[in-house]
């Protein structure tokens, strides 16, 4: 990076918040995905909107590309920046600005950590619902960029259903406000368009989120099955019963065994083919009635045993294995390729058979942990990236799994995003025209394509859309 640029950045945020030594940059070489690595040119850490605007204006003048980053827990390589690129880390912007309990809204800065927000508002009896597995570290700004999900999104929706207003610094350094606290847009739904745009439309500097009351009662049920198919059928039967559980999570045998062999052992039966976690919440009467219904469905679909917990401590124990599944896999091998794909829920049993077949053929260790209620799979491949031949097989197997999910009518990502990891898969689910439309919309926000360049859109597969800057009629 040019010294002049470093000086100018230092003048904006002070030298203390500009990092460019190789050792310092290494921290930012990856996000949560170990398969994509690149050192950014420089890291700058603005403290507030004014500094973000000044940095973005400078980069606009110099036509330098940039990437915004939160905690770097993403799983698609979305927050990785190249050597000619400036990385804006927003973790210093971590203030909860306002909470309005009556309207059930909070206004926060993008660097607020997801779990911190829920902790801070818990005394008010409120929570922020989307709870990605990385919630103890990930930032809400990053959640907005990726439209993050989590186990409790089955009932309550993903990030996009909880964001009502955004203050955004566009790549030309102008500042716009999208949406309103009421959730009614001033015009087309640009909040909906921005959420999940993977940091390619600008930088959100203020976020208004919807809060939900903490339910009065919660019950967690844990059931184990002798076949994945019967567990999957139980999931469909629960949904068809009219009950929408707050969460409905499944782990296969490989995953359960990894958990039980680790320090996170939760007492899951290791001989079961699948373990299902179902959680219902609401009023005490609702929880009582729905839990009884769910338990009946589980048993009638062949659950060997159903354990149930209502107290926070007992529920945490049942959840522990699920929440720590990724950590537990660290015992198996040094690296973990966490995959993310979606299939129509009815295709779950077939797709799991198919993944088993791919695992055997490539001689890999794959465990499955997934949001069964919405068909969102996380096949996780344990490997050691120092073994290049093994890493190649991991890549090949990942690709085959993705192809199988797409063939089943699914999608290439349910909550992790496309980033630079899945760009190559985009033409599998979108035709050239639709990709072209996405590229054209990106240019509306970022005509120079400097904002998180080289992500999501496989440019060569996009049909060219030229937005003719038509002379707009003065009156219709």
């Amino acid at each position: 990076m040019r010294p002049a640029l470093l000086d100018a950045l230092s003048a904006i945020v002070s030298p203390r918040w500009v990092r460019h030594g190789k050792a310092e940059l290494t921290t930012y070489a990856m996000d949560g995905l170990p398969t994509h690595e690149s050192l950014p040119g420089v890291v700058v850490m603005p403290a507030n909107r004014t500094e973000v605007v000044a940095v973005v204006r400078l980069l606009q003048l110099l036509q330098v590309p940039f990437v915004a980053r939160g905690a770097g827990t993403g799983l698609s390589g979305g927050a990785v920046a190249g050597p000619e690129t400036v990385l804006l880390t927003l973790t210093r912007m971590n203030r909860i600005l306002r909470v309005d309990p009556a309207a059930r809204r909070a206004v926060i800065q993008p660097g607020v950590v997801n779990a911190r927000l829920s902790e801070a508002i818990a005394p008010l009896g409120l929570q922020y619902v989307p709870d990605p597995s990385s919630q103890a570290a990930c930032t809400v700004g990053g959640n907005v960029a990726e439209n993050a999900g989590g186990p409790h999104c089955l009932k309550y929706g993903v990030t996009t259903n909880h964001i009502v207003e955004l203050e955004v610094v566009l790549p030309d350094a102008s500042v716009v406000r999208l949406g309103s606290p009421q959730g009614e847009p001033w015009g087309p739904d640009l909040v909906g368009l921005f959420v999940g745009s993977e940091g390619m439309f600008g930088i959100a500097t203020e976020i208004t989120v919807r809060l939900e009351p903490i339910p009065a009662a919660v019950r967690t049920l844990l059931a184990d099955f002798l076949s994945v198919r019967s567990a999957s059928e139980a999931v469909s039967a629960i949904i068809a019963s009219g009950v929408v559980p707050a969460a409905l999570e499944m782990m296969d045998q490989a995953c359960v065994q990894a958990v039980e062999a680790s320090i996170y052992a939760a007492g899951y039966p290791t001989d079961a083919a699948a373990v299902l976690l179902a959680e219902v919440d609401g009023t005490p009467e609702q929880v009582e009635a729905e839990a009884a219904l769910v338990e009946g469905v589980l048993r009638s679909h062949g659950a060997r045993d159903v354990r149930s917990a209502s107290s926070a401590a007992d529920r945490a124990r049942l959840w522990q294995g699920r929440k720590k599944a990724f950590g537990a896999m660290g015992r198996i091998a040094p690296d973990l390729a966490v995959q993310d794909a979606v299939v129509p829920r009815s295709a779950l049993p077939d797709i799991l058979d198919r993944i088993g077949e791919i695992r055997r053929r490539h001689g890999l260790s794959i465990s499955n942990v997934f949001h069964a209620g919405d068909g969102n799979l996380h096949p996780n491949i344990s490997f050691d990236r120092r073994d290049p031949a093994l890493a190649d097989r991991v890549r090949e197997a990942s690709k085959e799994i993705m192809a199988a999910c797409v063939a089943a009518g699914g999608s290439i990502t349910g909550e992790h995003g496309v980033g630079n990891d899945k760009m190559g898969y985009m033409p599998w689910i979108f035709d050239a025209e639709t990709l072209g439309a996405m590229q054209a919309v990106r240019r509306v926000f970022d005509p120079d394509e400097r904002c998180n360049p080289g992500k999501m859109l496989p440019v060569r597969s996009c049909r060219e859309w030229r937005a003719t800057p038509a002379v707009r009629e003065a009156a219709l």
Binding site: D189, G196, I239, G242, N376, I412
Partner: protein, 404 residues
């Protein structure tokens, strides 16, 4: 000439003239719509799009009208996946009946006729009382097929309930009033039919009922709908607050028992055979005048917003989600009065969206009016992208735009 060109393109059966003698095409497929759009774009013709014409009156000046009524197929219903794919011209009541056969339903109860087309609900983003419990229209749409003004076919989203691949372009079309293309098909999020469905109503003064609604929210009672209706809309002598509970029996009964203990209001449970009729009455009420608009209002701002309407407009039919974010007004008013309401609302940070009105009013006011600072050029560029020759006659901003 246009008439003959269209007949040559689609065949005589798909082209007629509307009551104003404007050539009208009724294409039977997305591809046919794309052909029409391409031709209109090349020739510089202006198009207006209509469904049942109950929501957006087919009165915009145009060289041709395009009806989605031949696109009325329910393409597929997958109860196990909680997804259905439906064409834009399909009437909601037909969709509802078909889903019920599978034990499924769509958590949408938009204002208007029961046979409103799906396309009109999506294009106008008109959610009804169920928005309180299930979110606005945008939360029910998983993906769509859209034909742009220059005839390109775009298919964002997918037929799965969870998906973050690509930009969420679908959001642009929900509540976009057709300015970014013609919606031809949508993937819908379904739910299993609730086991119990109970509605209670309370009658009284406006302010007492809005206070009761706030008490109920404070008490953490969570109905699927909590709607305040003006006497004219509810066809009663007083204001009505209606709470609808959906779910498993025991839970619904428990909520019903708690209701009188948490509010000062007197509640009456509607008999099962009157429940559907009550909500249909509120929905139809939104057609009780030539103009309908919505304001973005939460529980705190409800009384103030209602005062504003009472001050600036003559009596109208009012339905307000007590906490869902939407207050809907239907009635008759001159453009100047509506402009004053929009200005007064904007001063309170309340967005006002014109949902339904004759062309003269839409043209003058625009569905959205003036945008907030910095947004106008983004919207203009999005329109240029999806409708480069401005073939689609949609008044998003209206002539108000030039004022700011």
């Amino acid at each position: 000439m246009i008439f003959a060109r269209l007949r040559a393109l689609l065949g005589p059966a798909a082209v007629d003239r509307d009551p104003d003698n404007v050539p009208r095409v009724t294409p039977a497929s997305t591809d046919a719509i794309a052909l029409v759009c391409r031709l209109a774009c090349d020739e510089g013709w202006k198009m207006r799009v209509e469904g049942l014409a109950s929501w957006l009156p087919p009165d915009a000046p145009a060289d041709l009208a395009l009806s989605t009524r031949a696109l009325d197929e329910i393409v597929s219903v997958s109860p196990a996946d909680l997804v259905a794919t439906v064409q834009a011209g399909a009437p909601l009541d037909a969709i509802r009946r078909r889903l019920a056969e599978h034990g499924m339903w769509l958590a949408m109860d938009p204002p208007g006729r029961p046979d409103r087309t799906l396309g009109s609900v999506i294009a106008t983003g008109t959610s009804g009382p169920l928005r309180h419990g299930f979110g606005p229209v945008r939360d029910q749409i998983l993906g769509c097929t859209v034909v742009t003004g220059d005839g390109r076919i775009v298919k964002p989203g997918a037929r799965v309930v969870k998906n973050v691949a690509g930009y969420d372009l679908t959001k642009l079309h929900v509540g976009g009033f057709g300015a970014f293309g013609i919606l031809t098909e949508a993937h819908l999020r379904l739910r299993a039919l609730p086991r119990a469905d109970v509605t209670l109503v309370s009658r009284g003064s406006r302010d007492a009922l809005s206070a009761a609604a706030r008490d109920l929210l404070e008490a953490r009672i969570a109905p699927a709908a909590l709607e305040l209706a003006s006497p004219e809309l509810a066809a009663e002598s007083e204001w009505v607050l209606a709470a609808r509970f959906l779910g498993v029996d025991a839970a619904v009964q428990a909520d019903v028992r708690r209701l009188p203990t948490e509010t000062d209001a007197v509640w009456e449970q509607l008999p099962a055979d009157r429940t559907a009729g009550f909500w249909a009455l509120l929905a139809r009420g939104s057609l009780g005048g030539p103009i309908t608009f919505r304001l973005g209002v939460l529980a705190d701002g409800l009384d103030d917003a209602l005062d504003l309407l009472a001050h600036d407009l003559d009596a109208g039919l009012i339905a307000a989600g007590a906490a869902s974010g939407t207050l809907r007004w239907t009635g008759e008013a001159p453009v100047e009065r509506l402009r004053a309401v929009r200005r007064a609302a904007a001063a309170r940070e309340i967005p006002m969206t014109l949902e339904r009105a004759p062309w003269s009013v839409r043209r003058a006011l625009g569905h959205f009016g003036a945008y907030r600072e910095g947004l106008g050029h983004l919207v203009d560029r999005l329109r240029d992208t999806f409708d480069p020759k401005q073939s689609l006659r949609v008044a998003l901003e209206g002539s108000e735009k030039s004022e700011k």
